[in-house]
Amino acid sequence: MGVDRREFLKIAGYAALFGLGGKAAIDILAPGELEASMQGIPLTQGKRWSMVIDMRKCLKQQEAGKDGCKECMIACHREHNVPDWGNPKHAIKWIWQDKYEHVFPEHPNQFIDEGVRHKPFILLCNHCLNPPCVRVCPTQATFKRESDGIVAMDMHRCIGCRFCMAACPYGSRSFNWGDPRKAPKELNPDYPTNRAYPERSMGVVEKCNFCVELVAKGELPACVQACDKIKVHALNFGDLDAPESNVRKLLREHYTIRRKPALGTEPNLFYII
C-alpha cells in the first residue's frame, strides 16, 4: 500500500464520514491554487505532444556556421547527462544528426534537390502514437503516458533485454553497453553535466524523453530552448490535440513528411522540407 494512496484513502474516508462528496475530498487533498502555481500551466496540459522541425531554418543555420550547428544536441545531452563513448557502436543518442538519405531511406531519389542531398537532418524519438517499442517491452519499463503521449522509460524497471531496440524502426533507442560513469574522461571532462538530473546504470536502454521533467515544470524541451535561444526557431514543440496550437498551425500551412509512415507507428515528429 503506497503512501500517497494510503493518505488519499484516509482523507477520503474522513470526507465520507462528514458526508462530503468526491469533489470536496479532492479539494482537501490538493488545494487548486497551489497545484497550478507549481505545475506551470498551460504547457503541462498537452494531450499529444509533438514536434514540427523546420529543416529550412535548421539547414540555413547549419550552413551559416563553419562546423554547422549543434546547439540542440549539446543542450539535450548536457541536460540529461548523456556521455560520449567515442565509439559509434556504443553511442547514446537522444537527439542527433544524420544525412537525408539515411533519415528517409524509403524516399530514394537519384536526382534529388541539392537543397537536401546529403544534408544533415535532426533526429530524435518520434514518440509514436502506436509505438512498437512499448508493445514488445516485457516489463512495461517503456510505456506511453496516457496523459500526454510521451513515450517514456522507467530506468528503475528496465531489464536490458533490448527487445525495444529491435522493435524501433527509427534507431531511436540506445543501450548502456558499459557504465556511463566509466565513459572516457577525456571526452567527458565535466560529466555529469547536470546535477539535477540522474545518470543511468549499466545495462538499461534509454532514449529521448521529450524533456518530461522540464515540461512538468512548464518549460520547453531543452533542444527547443537551445534553438530558440539562438533565434532559429526550427524546433517547434506543441500539442497536436489542440486545433489552434503552434504545431497544428504549422502543419496546416506547410507540407510536412514523417519517417517511415508506412509502418503504421504514427510518428509525432514532422519535418518541413
Binding site: 538530473y197 546504470s201 549499466m202
Partner: protein, 128 residues
C-alpha cells in the same frame, strides 16, 4: 539405517559449520549508528513525513515516489501537514540531507543493505 554413525557425525559437523558465524560473532554486536542531521535539516525540523515513519519506511516512500513520478507523472507530494514537495531523491531529499555518508551510508552499512539508488542518482558533494 546403514552407516548411521557416520551420517550423524557428518550432520553434527555440518550444522556446526553452518552455525559457526553465530558463535564467532556472539557478543560482538556493534552499536547502531545514529543518522546525523545537517544544519539545514535541523533547521527545517520536519521531514516529508514523521520521523518514526521515515526511519522505518523511507524506502517504501521512495519506491512510491519513483513509481508515481516516473510512471504517472505525479511529481508533487503532499505531506501530512499540507506542505508540497517535489518528488526527487536527488534534488529534494539530498538537498537537505547532503551528508550522505553520515545520513545514509552509516546505517545502510550497519544493516548491510546496498540500495542501487546511487547507480544513477548523483551523490551530493560533501565537504571532507
Amino acid at each position: 539405517m546403514y552407516d548411521g554413525g557416520k551420517i550423524i557425525i557428518g550432520l553434527i559437523i555440518g550444522i556446526g559449520l553452518f552455525l559457526s558465524p553465530f558463535f564467532y560473532n556472539a557478543g560482538k554486536a556493534a552499536k547502531a549508528p545514529e543518522p546525523e542531521l545537517t544544519a539545514m535539516a535541523k533547521e527545517a525540523k520536519v521531514c516529508v513525513a514523521q520521523k518514526s515513519y521515515m526511519r522505518e519506511s523511507h524506502f517504501t516512500m521512495l519506491d512510491e515516489w519513483r513509481n508515481t513520478s516516473v510512471r504517472d507523472g505525479e511529481r508533487y507530494y503532499t505531506a501530512w501537514d499540507g506542505k508540497k514537495y517535489y518528488k526527487s531523491l536527488q534534488v529534494t531529499c539530498m538537498d537537505c540531507h547532503s551528508n550522505k555518508t553520515k545520513f545514509c551510508d552509516q546505517c545502510h552499512n550497519y544493516v548491510d543493505v546496498d540500495p542501487y539508488c546511487w547507480d544513477c542518482h548523483i551523490v551530493p558533494e560533501e565537504k571532507k
